[in-house]
């Protein structure tokens, strides 16, 4: 146990060293740029300047500091991304179930499911906005579509990867379809579902931010484009870069945490190794 802890500690150390390395690299770049460019803050400011801007109580617009703008707009973006994500998860999961249950549905939907993967959905965001005429609806829709296919394909893969023997066992018990699904198929596809969720969660957030940029009605993306156009302080942009990166990584981590809570046997496995 102590040895495992020690190993974990060195792992964390290694990661910290890497992060430190990246910070140093950034700072070197920022120093060079500070000496060569006229407006270094637009290109690559020092990290300290960005942190300073977070705590600065200077109003940059509408009686809000830069950080207040970022946080309030992050809320708007996240709420939409979350809603779209949930809708996408639900429909993706249900489609996978239908595909497992009805052979005809699988045959019909499978090529299209593969095709969605190859089509640049994000590029379609403007047209979705044009059709729905509502920025909120299109945020939710795009996030939902992007969530939908990793969830559907991974869940289907999970449902299909169940060993034949486990199905035989169920048949030998004359189990009903309800029991086959609730006792065997659904629990078996949980790890696959979470693989899909981990891919989908950051994608839903990216989608939501991107859709924001299409129209000036709030959200991280809106503020990002305004900041780039110098309508508000450029530090809003830099804060958004870090906040969106943080949210993206956090959304991924959140899925891993939920997965661990949901699967105690995985936890037992992790504790052993």
């Amino acid at each position: 146990m102590t040895r495992a802890n020690k190993e974990k500690l060195t792992d964390i150390m290694v990661i910290l060293v890497w992060v430190a390395g990246l910070i140093i690299l950034w700072e070197i770049g920022a120093t060079i740029i500070a000496q060569t460019k006229r407006t270094p803050a637009n290109v690559l400011p020092h990290l300290s300047q960005i942190i300073e801007s977070v705590f600065s109580d200077k109003m940059v617009s509408n009686k809000q500091t830069a950080w207040q703008i970022v946080i309030s707009n992050a809320g708007i973006t996240l709420w939409r991304a979350g809603l779209g994500f949930l809708i996408g998860v639900l429909t993706g999961f249900l489609l996978a179930l239908f595909m497992r249950y009805f052979k005809a549905v699988e045959k019909t939907a499978f090529p299209y499911l593969m095709m969605i993967q190859m089509i640049p959905i994000l590029g379609m965001a403007p047209i979705v906005l044009a059709i729905t005429k509502d920025i909120n609806k299109s945020r939710i829709m795009i996030a939902a579509i992007l969530t939908f296919y990793p969830v559907a394909t991974n869940t289907l893969a999970g449902l299909k990867s169940v060993e034949k023997e486990k199905l035989d066992l169920m048949h030998s018990l004359a189990a009903s379809n309800w029991h086959i699904y609730t006792k065997l198929l659904l629990p078996s596809c949980v790890p696959y579902l979470f693989t899909g969720l981990k891919i989908a969660a950051p994608m839903a957030i990216t989608a939501s931010i991107l859709v924001d940029t299409l129209q000036g009605s709030g959200g991280l993306g809106t503020m990002l484009s305004q900041s780039l156009k110098h309508a508000i302080s450029i530090y809003v942009f830099w804060q958004i870069v870090f906040v969106s990166a943080f949210i993206g990584i956090l959304s991924y981590k959140l899925m891993s945490v939920i997965e661990k809570l949901y699967s105690p046997h995985e936890k037992a496995k992790a504790a052993k190794s």
Binding site: E165, K166, D168, H171, A175, V190, A268
Partner: protein, 259 residues
């Protein structure tokens, strides 16, 4: 063995599979005739491709025969399966890795909807029977291969089935674990008086365990001999060294055709 009535009767059983590449049909089993008595320990022995697993799956109603009749207690395998009179053990333990040992054994009882109290009582009894009382709260991956297979056996016995079907259950285990489980299986068999059909490709194993050995040969799959393994019971590991045992092993080995 006491003279008991016929439990399973197989008449003219044939199973053919269409060849996937469009070639000739594969004759997995041709004209199998076999009577199995209640409480008998029968081995289905043969090399891979001889149809021994297909025979087991046909009895279990997991495989539809092309022609021929199987009757179990005078009824069809389908009816017997629906009344949950089969217990199955596979080559791999086929445990649910998201369930503890207890909940794995519990699963068949949940399927037929036994009340919770009864489930707990039976799980305790099963754990005791296979000697895993201390391991109920563990997850499958925390157990050794032999222990996992014991859980598989406990699960198969949980519904108190009348017929236990075992498909090469010990073939992935090491020799020491295997011998231990052989003794345990004979013990469980004696205690429960089940009819056991045991698929294996190991001659010694079949001779040591069974009352009768059904020898199957491949291409096409067929029964080439039925050998009585009349070594007196109770058997222990010492009997493997006897001349009687070696003679039986040789007899079985010589009864294969076209391998």
């Amino acid at each position: 063995m006491q003279t008991a009535e016929t439990e399973i009767r197989i008449k003219g059983l044939c199973v053919t599979f269409p060849d996937k590449d469009g070639g000739e049909d594969i004759h997995a089993l041709t004209d199998v005739n076999l009577d199995i008595k209640q409480g008998e320990f029968i081995s289905l022995l043969g090399p891979s491709g001889c149809g021994k697993t297909t025979l087991l799956r046909s009895i279990a109603d997991l495989q539809r025969p092309t022609s021929g009749i199987i009757s179990v207690k005078g009824r069809s395998p389908h009816e017997i399966r629906l009344s949950q009179k089969y217990g199955i053990v596979f080559q791999s333990p086929v445990l649910y890795d998201w369930r503890t040992v207890r909940r794995n054994i519990c699963m068949p009882m949940e399927v037929i909807g036994l009340p919770k109290k009864e489930r707990t009582r039976r799980v305790d009894a099963m754990l005791e029977l296979v000697g895993l009382t201390k391991f109920g709260k563990k997850y499958p991956h925390q157990l050794s291969g032999g222990m996992q297979q014991r859980v598989g056996i406990a699960r198969a016995l949980a519904l108190d089935p009348e017929i236990l079907l075992m498909d090469e259950p010990f073939s992935a285990l090491d020799e020491f674990t295997k011998e231990k489980l052989h003794m345990d299986l004979l013990d469980i068999w004696k205690k429960t008086n089940k009819t056991i059909l045991f698929v294996t490709h190991n001659i010694q194993e079949s001779v040591f365990l069974s009352d009768r050995i059904v020898v199957l040969s491949p291409h096409p799959g067929r029964v080439s001999a039925v050998v009585d393994a009349d070594i007196p019971r109770p058997r222990n590991l010492d009997c493997k060294g006897t001349a009687e045992f070696s003679a039986l092993v040789n007899k079985v080995r010589n009864s294969f055709e076209g391998v």
